[in-house]
Structures are given as structure tokens and as C-alpha cells.
């Protein structure tokens, strides 16, 4: 197969410069390190795409004695498995990022919130952390990192639900604002970053911000680790440059018969074949065509797949994983599911789909957190692009 896209090897590169990086960084002015991160253009890889340097700066400026740094390893989005791979093969890069963050914002305690499904990683990860603590002591960095295990709840990947969960409560998202950098874990200023985000800070600290910024396109800098699954001869984890068109991606990864790609998991968007060419993978910005942010989940569907079944599966997921706290999401997800079933069975006319689309859009505005708000992403993009498949 002809390869269009350059495979990168930054994140998974086998390099061990934690000590050098930490020594160098703690000798620098915190503002300079933050400015490096800001100028690198690094944005959060957990889905929302918040500028990482700015997040650290906000937490550094907060005026409370207790602060926390948390690595979000809840990775529950269907079709995402890159954080597991990063934590198994380059955990020291993630820890380096956490230590630098802790140093800059003034945190003495760090946590890795590891989803329960990844409990099998805990022993090896704990060993790396133990060794890391020895190094921290040598460098006189006052930080301890602990693993906090989740217990099977997708919503706990949402940052405020994650804090609630760590506090022993039901994983129900909080109202925002206040944001975590002011009021996070235990009500204290907290930086919470995705596993991959933290691993990228290692490369930026080692190679400088320009090397990172050279990769990608405007507003979407650097590389991104993609989790590729579905109808592909080569499923797996790939580090690619931001800014590629979906057509190029499908040329490399599809099976020659791709009819749609779901970008960003169940809470992401479904892109049909006719839009591959003008869809660019990156954060929303001044890119040509439609640009899609993504936590890195790329699920490819070929023409043998029923998009009704795909949507049904996603809605099953949301019905189960909705925390139930707010009505638009708790009732809305169920009604969307019942609704497409009714249309399929002919109990409702096809025009009923338009009412369901209205409901999904209403959830986007009224739901309390990102889960309920993003159901419309997949719902609307699948129903609008594959309307006949919903009916017949």
C-alpha cells in the first residue's frame, strides 16, 4: 500500500532524559517554561483542546497553598486506546510532565486517575513511579504521585466528575465555572491533563517549542496519537501530524471500501465518503473545509456496515453512561434511542427524524456537561448523512 502520511516517532521514541530535563527545567524561571509551552502551541489531547501552557499559568497564579496535578487516564471514549499504550511504553514521559507541572504551579501531590479497565497496568506503573520518587528525592523535588483507580464509569473522564469520584462521591459533573485551575480536586487549584498531553510536554521540554510548532498546521500544532480501528487492515496506534485531510487518512488506513469515518469516538462526528476530501483533522480554527477536533479515535466503516447499527450502538453507550443528573441528557438519550427504533420499525414516519434532530440539538444547549452536549455530534452527523439507512 502506498503511504501518504508520514509516521512520526516523538511520543513513543525510546529516550530516557527525565533527569536532564528535570534538572534543566527547575533551574529555569517558571514563566519561561510556561512561555515555551504556550509558544509551542500545545493543546490538550483529551478532547477539549485547551492550551496547556495557559492552563498551567492559571494554576500557577492561583493563590492557595494546596494544589494538585492530575493525569487523566480514564480513556473511556469508544475507539480510543492510545493512552494505555503511552502509559505502558513511555510512562516516564508522562511522569516527567507531571513533575514539571507540579514544580511550576507549586503542587506537592499528583495523581494518575487510571480507569478500572486498565487495572492490569497498575503493578508495572507503580514500579516506574517508585523509581521516579527516588529521582525526585535526589533532585529535591517535593512531589509524590499516586495511582487512583476508577471503577468503570465513562463520565469520570470528565474532569469535574473525576474530582468527585476521587472525593468518594458519585461521578457527577459539577457546574462550570469555577474551573479546575481555581476549584478542582478537594476544591483546590488543580491542573488536569490527558496522558498524551503530558507526554508531549516531555518532547517540548527536551527539544524546545519550535520543533513541536513546526509540526501540524495553524491552531493545531504538533503531532497526535491516533487510535485506528474498525474496517482497516492495519488497526493500531499511529502518531501522525495534525492537519491531514481525511481522504489521505483513508487512503492509508482504509480497506478500499470505506464509506464513513467516525472521528473522535461516540461523542465525535461521522464523516461520509463525499466529505473525506474537505475534512481536515485538527482543532477548530481557520483551516480550509471543516476541521474536526479529536481525542484521536478514528473508527472506519466500510460499505458492508449499517450506520443504523452504528448509531444504535453509540446511543446504547450514552444511555448507560449518562450520569443521570440532568434531565435533557438522562431522558434525551433514551428518547433518541427509542425514536430511531420507532422509525426503523415504521411506527413513526421518517419526518420524526427531524424532531429527533431538534431534540439532539436541544441537548447540546441544555445538558450540563460535555457528555450530554456532544450526543448531537454523532447523532446529527449520522442521521443527516445516512438518512435512508435510518428508515429502510
Amino acid at each position: 500500500m502506498k503511504k501518504n502520511l508520514q509516521r512520526l516517532d516523538l511520543i513513543f521514541k525510546n529516550e530516557h532524559d527525565t533527569e536532564v530535563i528535570l534538572r534543566k527545567t527547575i533551574g529555569r524561571k517558571c514563566d519561561d517554561v510556561i512561555n515555551d509551552l504556550i509558544s509551542s502551541g500545545l493543546k490538550g489531547r483529551g478532547g477539549a483542546g485547551f492550551p496547556t501552557g495557559l492552563k498551567w499559568k492559571l494554576a500557577a497564579e492561583a493563590n492557595q497553598p494546596d494544589k494538585f496535578v492530575i493525569c487523566n487516564a480514564d480513556e473511556g471514549e469508544p475507539g480510543t486506546f492510545k493512552d494505555r499504550e503511552i502509559l505502558s511504553s513511555v510512562p516516564h514521559k508522562v511522569l516527567t510532565g507531571m513533575a514539571v507541572c507540579a514544580h511550576i504551579i507549586g503542587a506537592k501531590k499528583g495523581f494518575i486517575y487510571l480507569r478500572g479497565e486498565y487495572k492490569f497496568l497498575k503493578p508495572s506503573l507503580q514500579k516506574v513511579i517508585d523509581d521516579f520518587h527516588v529521582l525526585l528525592d535526589d533532585l529535591k523535588i517535593d512531589l509524590r504521585v499516586a495511582i487512583f483507580l476508577g471503577s468503570g464509569a465513562y463520565i469520570c473522564g470528565e474532569e469535574s466528575a473525576l474530582f468527585e469520584s476521587m472525593e468518594g462521591k458519585r461521578g457527577e459533573p459539577r457546574n462550570k465555572p469555577p474551573f479546575p485551575t481555581d476549584f478542582g480536586y478537594k476544591g483546590q487549584p488543580t491542573v488536569i491533563n490527558n496522558v498524551e498531553t503530558l507526554a508531549h510536554t516531555y518532547s517540548i521540554l527536551k527539544y524546545g517549542p519550535d520543533k513541536f510548532k513546526d509540526l501540524g498546521v495553524q491552531d493545531s500544532r504538533g503531532s497526535k496519537v491516533f487510535s485506528v480501528s474498525g474496517d482497516t487492515p492495519i488497526p493500531g496506534i499511529y502518531e501522525l501530524e495534525f492537519g491531514m485531510s481525511l481522504q489521505k487518512f483513508v487512503d492509508d488506513f482504509g480497506d478500499g471500501d470505506s464509506k464513513a469515518v467516525q472521528v473522535g469516538g461516540a461523542s465525535g462526528f461521522c464523516v461520509p465518503r463525499k466529505k473525506f476530501e474537505k475534512t481536515i483533522i485538527g482543532y477548530q480554527g481557520k483551516l480550509r473545509g471543516t476541521s474536526l477536533p479529536t481525542g484521536g479515535s478514528m473508527m472506519i466503516f466500510n460499505s458492508s456496515r449499517s450506520m443504523y447499527n452504528v448509531l444504535h450502538n453509540y446511543l446504547d453507550f450514552f444511555v448507560e453512561e449518562s450520569c443521570g443528573q440532568c434531565t435533557p441528557c438522562r431522558v434525551g438519550t433514551q428518547q433518541l434511542l427509542l425514536g430511531i427504533q420507532a422509525v426503523k420499525k415504521g411506527e413513526q414516519p421518517s419526518s420524526y427524524l427531524d424532531r429527533l434532530l431538534d431534540l439532539a440539538e436541544a441537548m447540546r444547549v441544555t445538558a450540563k456537561c460535555g457528555l450530554g452536549q456532544s450526543v448531537a455530534n454523532s447523532f446529527s452527523s449520522i442521521v443527516e448523512n445516512f438518512r435512508e439507512e435510518m428508515i429502510y
Binding site: 475507539g79 486506546f81 483507580l149 476521587m166 450502538n313 448507560e320
Partner: protein
Amino acid sequence: MAEVKQLVKGLADQHGRSMESLLPILQGIINQEQHISEDAMVEVARELNISAAQVYGTATFYSFLHTKPLGKYVIRVCKTITCMMHGKNQIIQELEAVLKINLGETTHDRLFTLLETNCLGQCHKGPAMLVNDEPYTELTPEKVRAIIMKYKQQELNVN
């Protein structure tokens, strides 16, 4: 009852008695007993000096924290999209046949419980499942039979 008391006390000694210890304690109970009984919840509430309702609220929120008895080995087959596309139904059927139970049930010898779960983060190697904490990927009916045999054998050796 006395046993549960001991277990909960030990876990509280290990993890602490603040609210932040609640989830680790509940997880510790699951490790030992596969489910959190009402007695255990009351005990946890007493140790942490919080209401039993609070413990119940947290315990019932998480899909890995069960409040009904389960088998010693809890099998969770991923039912999310990629695993579904790659034949998870066939895997469930095979497990039902080998274990002689339906989805959601526990075998008579209380060794195995068969459940479905959402995406396990192994989609590139679907179909996937967990047996307690252990992931198994790229499953085929033959592989599934061998895995179940392995656990049964392990039990025979223990007894």
C-alpha cells in the same frame, strides 16, 4: 459478618478514613468478595463516620462495584462498536454454551459470571474481554474455550 468487619477495618487502616478513601475501600471489598453486601456498606459507613446512604450512593454509581453476589471470575465482554463489528456476539454465544448460563448469570458453582461492558480500550484487537482484571483480546470461540479451561484447571489445582 465478623469477617466483613475485619475486612473493612483492614482496608480502612490501609487506605485511611477520609472520604477520599471510600472508593479504594469499596474496590478492596470487591477484590475479596466480588460484591459489596449491605453489611459491608454499613461497616464502611461506620468506619468512615458517614451515612450508609452515602456509601450506597457511591457504590451503586460505578459499573465495576456490584451490590449483588457475583462469581469468583467475572467475565466482561466488550459490546461497543468495534468489538461488535468483529464478532462479539459469537464470543458471547460461545461463553454461554461453555458455561451453560445466559448473559448476566452466574454458574451454579459460583465460579463464573458473564456480563457485557462498554469499550475496554482494546478496540484494535477486538473482540476483547476482561476476566476480573485480566484483558483477553483477538478472541475466537476456540480461544475463549481455552481461557475458561485455564481458569477451571486453576481452580482444580487450588482445591
